[in-house]
């Protein structure tokens, strides 16, 4: 990817309205304070990578964005709509936000094609033929159209995760959330999933990605957010965050990550 293209894209993003706004978000699991005053804006078209040690609240954070978890204090606005107990607002948000899980969570009793067409047909009320054409288009983009008639259990982990990405894309979301998409994969399958995600980033999709894949973060992210113990400790462009960590916590984390690789 050329630097000039990057610069153009970033410039376009600077004045775009924020796709996601989190203002002083707090969450507790019982007595455990898992999110502490998290304030974060994600611009339309921005690619954000969230990293941090396990238990730092990064998964909880992105699960709060489409309300798989509820926050107790603060406000979260997605695409201008505030998350609340209002079910209609929630439906509207979930239609615009796609999510990819660590454990794929494909529906094992449906074929790959049915996995991809279910939500467009029943949530977007798309005609079946149109939904199938759309699904095939995305399955081709993630390079597995030939598996459309198979069941998830017949596919490898990497293929399943690519289907999960296609399934989310079939809803034509404005924002994509990735919750450690490669953590459950064998090393040789991580690459194919990351390539798919890089391809998606090149289309200008707004992405929030919890991952430890530093290479991916460097290649794709506009901004890296480092979380520890429920709060955002550092953030900035990937080079800055990875090369010049300012806090000991991030230094420790980076040394552990590098040792692990």
């Amino acid at each position: 990817m050329s630097t000039s293209m990057e610069a153009v894209a970033s410039a376009a993003r600077a004045d775009a309205p924020p796709a996601i706004m989190l203002d002083k978000v707090n969450k507790w699991y019982g007595a455990l304070h898992v999110l502490r005053d998290v304030t974060l804006n994600v611009a339309l078209g921005e690619r954000l990578v969230v990293c941090g040690p396990s238990g730092s609240g990064k998964s909880t954070l992105i699960r709060c964005i489409n309300r798989l978890e509820t926050h107790q204090e603060g406000t979260i606005k997605v695409d201008g709509i505030e998350l609340s107990d209002d079910l209609r607002a929630l439906d509207a948000i979930r239609r615009e936000v796609g999510m990819v899980f660590q454990s794929f969570n494909l529906f094992p009793h449906l074929t790959i094609l049915e996995n991809c067409t279910l939500a467009p047909i029943w949530v977007r009320h798309m005609p079946k033929a149109e939904a199938e054409a759309l699904a095939m288009e995305y399955l081709e983009r993630v390079k597995i159209p030939e598996q459309a008639k198979k069941y998830p259990g017949q596919l490898s982990g990497g293929q399943q995760q690519r289907v999960a990405i296609a399934r989310a894309l079939c809803m034509k979301p404005k924002i994509m959330l990735f919750d450690e998409p490669t953590s459950a994969l064998d090393p040789e399958m991580i690459k194919e999933v990351l390539e798919t995600m890089v391809g998606l980033a090149e289309t200008g999709m707004t992405m929030v990605c919890v991952t430890h894949e530093m290479g991916f973060a460097r290649q794709v992210a506009d901004r890296v957010v480092f979380m520890d113990r429920g709060e955002i400790v550092e953030q900035g462009p990937p080079n800055e965050v990875f090369e010049n960590p300012r806090t000991d916590r991030l230094k420790l984390f980076l040394s552990q990550i590098l040792r692990g690789h």
Partner: protein, 369 residues
């Protein structure tokens, strides 16, 4: 390294003993003790089989003239008196249903069996099946009650036999199953009132024997009704059975719901599916497939539990059989009658069991790699 590596040549599996003789040798005569044991068992099996054939076929009396059971009594137990079945089969199957109208009850049984067969075939699993059920059950109602289309009216008190068993079991499970799904979902509801209601229902109904529920339905329930109002006894028993089966099935279904990983709910939520769409397309199809064995176990149990209605004086298949041998001329031929009744129950239960195994294999194809 890769160019140097030569794949190991594929070998065939180690030779195992094959063929029936090898099977017999390894499984029945692997040592002197197992050999002796096999021989003793073989002897007993042959002896009992021959004994049963002698009793049930060779020495059996198949019919007697005008209730003269002397021929049967002369056998002194060395042969079966199938004459009791020849004589009483219509009573066992149709109870006290008027003799000349019994073709209607017979037709109802055929409609029931046809309904089961159609429902069992997956190609009929669509919306029209609901209409088929309504049509079939209406037909059975018209046939049994009559009073329209030139059919004579037959009050419910005169119905009996296999028809009653099929009515109780079919209506019972047809209503109890959907009820149980709602209750199982309700027990996992986030709304405390709905959850409490479902928990109370299950615990209350499960905590009492079916017999006491049937007694309540037949004796106590009418006391609460306003004077002059009367609900059919069969209907009351039917409701008791539905409520009882519903509570048990609800727990089976709940087991299936709980065995689904949370990720399935979350993935459906994240795609924006509403609660009912999530439940209908993602959760129930998987949960119910998982619980086919315990579900059918409960179904079979309830098919036979319908025979408990005898204690409130409803003439089901078993009661009809029991009543058939009350007549002095036929007293003492219980074995033949109970064998026959048992065989009828077995046919239905075995069919359910076999069908469920096929269904399980067919519906769980996605789990086969």
């Amino acid at each position: 390294m890769s160019e140097a590596a030569i794949p190991t040549a594929a070998r065939s599996a180690p030779i195992t003993l094959v063929g029936p003789i090898a099977w017999v040798r390894t499984n029945l005569f692997s040592g002197w003790f197992s050999g002796l044991f096999s021989l003793v068992l073989l002897f007993l099996i042959v002896k009992w089989t021959l004994g049963f054939i002698e009793w049930g076929v060779i020495n059996a009396v198949w019919s007697v003239p005008n209730n003269q059971t002397q021929a049967c009594r002369d056998l002194k137990g060395t042969g079966a008196c199938w004459a009791v079945i020849t004589e009483k089969h219509r009573f066992i199957l149709f109870g006290t249903y008027p003799y000349e109208e019994q073709w209607r009850a017979f037709l109802s049984i055929l409609v029931f069996i046809g309904l089961f067969i159609v429902s069992a075939m997956r190609r009929f699993w669509r919306k029209e099946l609901g209409l088929i059920w309504i049509g079939a059950l209406t037909t059975i109602g018209v046939l049994m009650w009559g009073g329209v289309l030139g059919l004579n009216y037959v009050p419910q008190e005169r119905w009996g036999g296999l028809v009653i068993t099929l009515i109780l079991a079919t209506f019972g499970l047809a209503f109890a199953f959907p009820l149980s799904i709602l209750v199982a979902l309700g027990r996992r509801s986030k709304l405390p009132a709905i959850k409490a209601l479902c928990v109370i229902y299950v615990e209350l109904i499960r905590g009492v024997p079916l017999i006491s529920l049937l007694f309540m339905a037949s004796v106590m329930f009418p006391l609460f009704l306003p004077e002059g109002m009367n609900i059919d006894k069969l209907l009351r028993a039917q409701i008791a059975i539905i409520l009882f089966a519903g509570a048990y099935l609800a727990e089976v279904v709940r087991g299936g719901l709980q065995s689904l990983p949370r990720g399935q709910y979350e993935a459906a939520d994240a795609l924006g599916l509403s609660y009912w769409k999530k439940t209908g397309f993602i959760i129930l199809p998987q949960a119910l497939r998982l619980v086919i064995p315990p579900l059918v176990n409960t179904f079979i149990g309830f098919f036979k539990d319908t025979s408990l209605v005898l204690i409130i004086g409803i003439f089901d298949l078993l009661t009809a059989g029991k009543t058939a041998i009350i007549e002095p001329a036929w007293q003492g031929f219980g074995i033949e009658v109970y064998l026959t009744v048992g065989f009828i129950y077995f046919c239905f239960c075995f069919a359910m069991s076999r069908y469920s195994q096929n269904l399980e294999a067919e519906l769980n194809q996605h789990r086969v790699r």
